[in-house]
Amino acid sequence: MTDTPLSAQGPTAPSFLHRLRDWWSGETANPVKRVQFGHGLTPWLFVLPQLAVVVIFFYWPSAQAVTSSFYIEDPFGFGSTFVGMENYADALGSKEYLSTAWFTAFFCVVVTALALGIGLLLAVKADKVIRGAESYKTLLISVYAIAPPVAGLIGMMFFDMHMGPFTRLFAFFGHELRVGVDYWDTTIALITISVWKQIPYNFIFFLSGLQSVPVSVREAALIDARSGWRRFKDVTLPLLAPTAFFLLIINITYTMFDTFPIIDVIVKDKPANNPMTLVYKVYLDGFKGNDIGGSSAQSVILMVVVAALTVLQFRFLERRVHYG
């Protein structure tokens, strides 16, 4: 026993000034969380460049798009007239816009499904062969590292109207492939190239997802279930779900936005009535058609759709995804 007298009063509440000073100097209730910054404003200073980039290249243009979607701009840039929701009504009422929207949805579903499906299939097959064999893996990954920028161009050459091997292949079966002229021929070309370009990406994520399933868990499944399909369905696939969910979002984003250059090369300067995605239409109407107001309205609609889609995915899909 020591005879240190106990303090008669409990700890007093810190004064407002104290708290303010603590806040300013970055002092929090939990000293462990203070990390190494001595100053409350220092972290903000570090984040500033990133924030600036986001504001300048994202929020500001978004705000601009929203504003200009309520105006009709003079084609020569001499002035603009406020028209309220007219641009939106025009877009949503236009048959052309709706058919583009349907095509985008169709394109999105087909490309995502095929790119994910084929990527997963290849990954499962490769995983069987290369479990542990680092050199194989490196080899396959290096292919991916080279491929993407070249892939688009090569794909377009394959479908070339005069010398593309795919054109010849279709000709062999008696179908004259007229990419850039015929709606469905162009669709086939767009889907093929888009899927092809995205497969390596999905492949690598699926492969690394597969390889991170513990060997002993697979072995336990090997003892519990005879059928390889059941093991895949009941054990491997659920453990791959986080990867698949991530890829689903990436792939949808890819088909909606990053297929732009592919579409551009294939339908540019071609006669009308070609399939295109909403993003390409925004570009076409805004920059080719000089309809800034209408194109802004379209991009705002697109923004809303994508935001809604993302919320949906996270609300309904993520809950069913198992994070080990």
């Binding site: 513990p214 002993s216 868990v217 072995e219 336990a220 499944a221 090997l222 003892i223 519990d224 279930a225 005879r226 059928s227 059941r230 009941d234 054990v235 659920p238 453990l239 779900a241 198992h322 080990g324």
Partner: protein
Amino acid sequence: MAELTLNAVGKTYSGGVKAVSGVDIQISDGEFIVLVGPSGCGKSTLLRMVAGLETVTDGEIHIGSRLVNQLDPAERDIAMVFQNYALYPHMTVRDNMAYGLKNRRTPKAEIETRVAEAARMLELGQYLDRKPRALSGGQRQRVAMGRAIVRQPAAFLFDEPLSNLDAKLRVSMRMEIRKLQQRLGTTSLYVTHDQLEAMTLADRLVVLNGGRVEQIGAPLEVYRKPASTFVAAFIGSPAMSLLDATVEGGRLMLEGHVLAEVDHKAGPVTLGLRAEDLRLVARGGVPMRVEYIEELGAHRVVHGMVGDQSLAVVDQGAEAPGDLIHIAADPARLHLFDAATGQRIDVRSRVGEFAR
């Protein structure tokens, strides 16, 4: 439940690594066999060959009357408990246990009964709806056991199932496993590198060395009559001291002291002495210089030097490092091994005491 027969079983990995060779083991129904040996001696490989997770490159494995060499793991009617438990992380405890049965088209009611029974035995009742990540190590271990039990297989295979647990839990789980196995009477093959675990669990031990069987026998038999210096050094704690000695004219000599009279041709031999078989004597005996002392509470292990060879003695006394003590042993408890091959030499020592 079934017998397990390994006939000249061998494994050569691609690349030419010979992990296991010429293993013959006859395991009778309900027997608990422990495969023990140092790291890399091929224990897991052998077990995994029985499980079907590794191909058998030589010999034959029979489970019951069936030759299983070519069968899938799921067809072999075995259940395995893995070192890291290998539970399905996305399934509840209940589903983890039921999964193997579901795939074998066991009726739903039957599955429920078996899972409930296993949960009761393993005291897992309140965790049935949890996922494995919400369980402690010991609980996960029990789930892994449960997954094996519900299957009611011909044989249990264990690959170091306790080595991820802390020391205390390991001891209690060891007892649990033994009791459970005796209750169920299921033939079991258990791999460990812990000789204490091996001694306490096994009906019979299989000591492996470099992919070969060094000795098969009941734990006490292996302890009392190790077949080679390898087994002698591996089984028992503290490890048996192995010393260079010679036989001269029918007398066993250690560092110039006569130990016993033996029926063996003259020449060098390896002498094995267990610390617990030695005792201190006031006079006579072999002089030993105390080097350091392991205090274990119940007794102490005194390590020291006889000449320039080290030796350990179990004792209750109060000697200190630097002391010179004299030790003696019952000649019946001396172990002699061939100095060249390390194989046991069975000789009768004729005189009743250490050197005089």
